[in-house]
């Protein structure tokens, strides 16, 4: 449908955004790229009385890669991540995940902050945030606070953000150069929402055993989820055909997806196992040269 009626304002600072959110509690929504919000409004699933456009908050448009980690301003577009040379080595898992977001035209407008605030359980960015243990910096009437990714997502399209809070940036931990990683997603058509997606990384210790294993899944529950049983099956182990198989089975068993129009629960459970198996095989075979090439 055509959009419902609303007021529109484009303030000059984050403080002004928060003041506006606080003055119209529950009635106002922030808009950046609008790639999730506008379709939601076109379907009349959301009818905010006021849209607050972030277009003048240039300071939210930044990518910083430092030894301490990666910082993405909330207005960073998927296109900016795709174009970033620094992120090839700074965070190759993020870069790989993002090319699966929708289509090129959407990636030219959609933003990191928007995806995190929208909290679709099948989206790539929430999955990456949870898998990597990201922290999200938000600003509200009571000042700034840091929210751990696992605490941000509370349900499908639901976050723990207060109604007067604005996401400023997301912080990802530093990425070691020889980390093994992979991202695998399945959708029936390129660009559709993932039926399921898996992000995985691990490091190798001096005995060549896996450590710091982190496995996250998208689309197989009401929130992105860490597959802790699968992580346990690999931590401290040699990564080989048997341990990969064990991890994949643990992953299938741990997820509790719903059945919907696109796939049954049983299909999604099986899909998660297969995706993890393929992801681990890719991570295993990713040699050091690949890591540097990104």
């Amino acid at each position: 449908m055509k959009l419902p009626d609303f007021e529109y304002v484009a303030p000059a600072s984050a403080d002004q955004v928060v003041k506006l959110l606080a003055s119209r509690l529950g009635e106002a929504k922030v808009i950046a790229g609008g790639q999730s919000l506008l379709p939601t409004m076109a379907y009349r699933l959301a009818q905010p009385a006021l849209l607050i456009d972030l277009k003048n908050l240039a300071e939210l448009n930044r990518i910083v890669v430092e030894p301490t980690g990666v910082v993405l301003g909330a207005r960073t577009r998927w296109r900016d991540i795709e174009d970033s040379e620094e992120l090839k080595t700074g965070h190759p898992l993020l870069k790989e995940a993002i090319i699966h977001v929708a289509h090129a035209q959407v990636r030219n407008r959609g933003t990191v902050g928007g995806s995190l605030a929208h909290a679709d359980p099948a989206s790539e960015m929430p999955c990456i945030a949870v898998t990597c243990g990201a922290e999200i910096l938000v600003l509200g009437s009571n000042g700034e606070r840091l929210i751990k990714a696992e605490d941000l997502f509370v349900g499908p399209l639901m976050t723990s953000l207060a109604e007067d809070e604005l996401i400023l940036e997301v912080r990802l931990p530093a990425w070691p150069a020889d980390r093994r990683w992979a991202f695998k997603e399945f959708a029936r058509r390129t660009g559709d929402f993932a039926l399921a997606g898996v992000a995985v990384f691990y490091d190798l210790n001096e005995q060549n055993l896996a450590c710091n294993v982190r496995i996250g899944v998208a689309g197989a529950g009401s929130c992105p989820l860490r597959l802790t049983n699968a992580e346990r099956a690999l931590n401290g182990q040699l990564v080989n055909e048997q341990t990969i198989q064990a991890a994949a089975m643990a992953a299938s068993e741990q997820v509790e997806p719903l059945s919907d129009l696109h796939a049954s629960a049983a299909y999604r459970k099986s899909l998660v196992g297969t995706l993890l198996k393929r992801a681990l095989e890719e991570a295993l075979n990713r040699n050091r040269l690949d890591c540097q090439r990104g």
């Binding site: 959009l3 090129a104 035209q105």
Partner: protein, 157 residues
């Protein structure tokens, strides 16, 4: 709300309700009906226009968000005389039938080839995957865009 932006190289001013999408503003406010509206929720690509060099879905952008931007629609891709390289290639390769999706493909392809004149067929296919066509089966569209690359190749590269 009064909006000022550049449309196909000309400064324009238009007054539209804030809830108007860029697509509806272009079509009904500025009478540029080359941009087509089909799904109106961002999956088909028929409404694609170019904003500040990027191909975007004009049904997923508010007109007010185009304030101060450079917008190019399919009308802006047509030269004074004759056909552009993309248009000629589309004609030669029979890359349209009903033509409804065609403006979206032309703007997307133009933005792609401007940035990546050496785009491979796989890359073309990947970027054009955000545009749906019910008539042609896509192969002729890919061939046309691939052939048009030579016109975008930078001098000396």
């Amino acid at each position: 709300m009064n909006i000022f932006f550049s449309l196909n190289g000309n400064n324009v001013e238009v007054d539209v309700p804030v809830r108007t999408t860029l697509a509806d503003c272009l079509r009904h406010g500025l009478f540029k009906t080359g941009t087509h509206v089909a799904c109106e929720h961002g999956v088909c690509g028929a409404c694609t226009v170019i904003v500040d060099g990027d191909a975007v879905r004009s049904c997923l952008m508010l007109a007010v968000q185009a304030e101060g931007c450079e917008v190019t629609t399919v009308e802006g891709l047509t030269p004074e005389v004759g056909l552009s390289a993309l248009q000629s290639a589309f004609h030669k390769h029979h890359a349209l039938q009903c033509g409804f999706c065609t403006p979206g493909f032309l703007t997307t392809a133009h933005a792609l080839l401007t940035d990546e004149p050496n785009a491979s067929k796989d890359r073309i296919r990947e970027v054009l995957s955000g545009n749906l066509c019910r008539c042609t089966g896509y192969i002729n569209i890919i061939e046309a865009v691939y052939e048009a690359r030579t016109a975008y190749a930078k001098f000396g590269q």
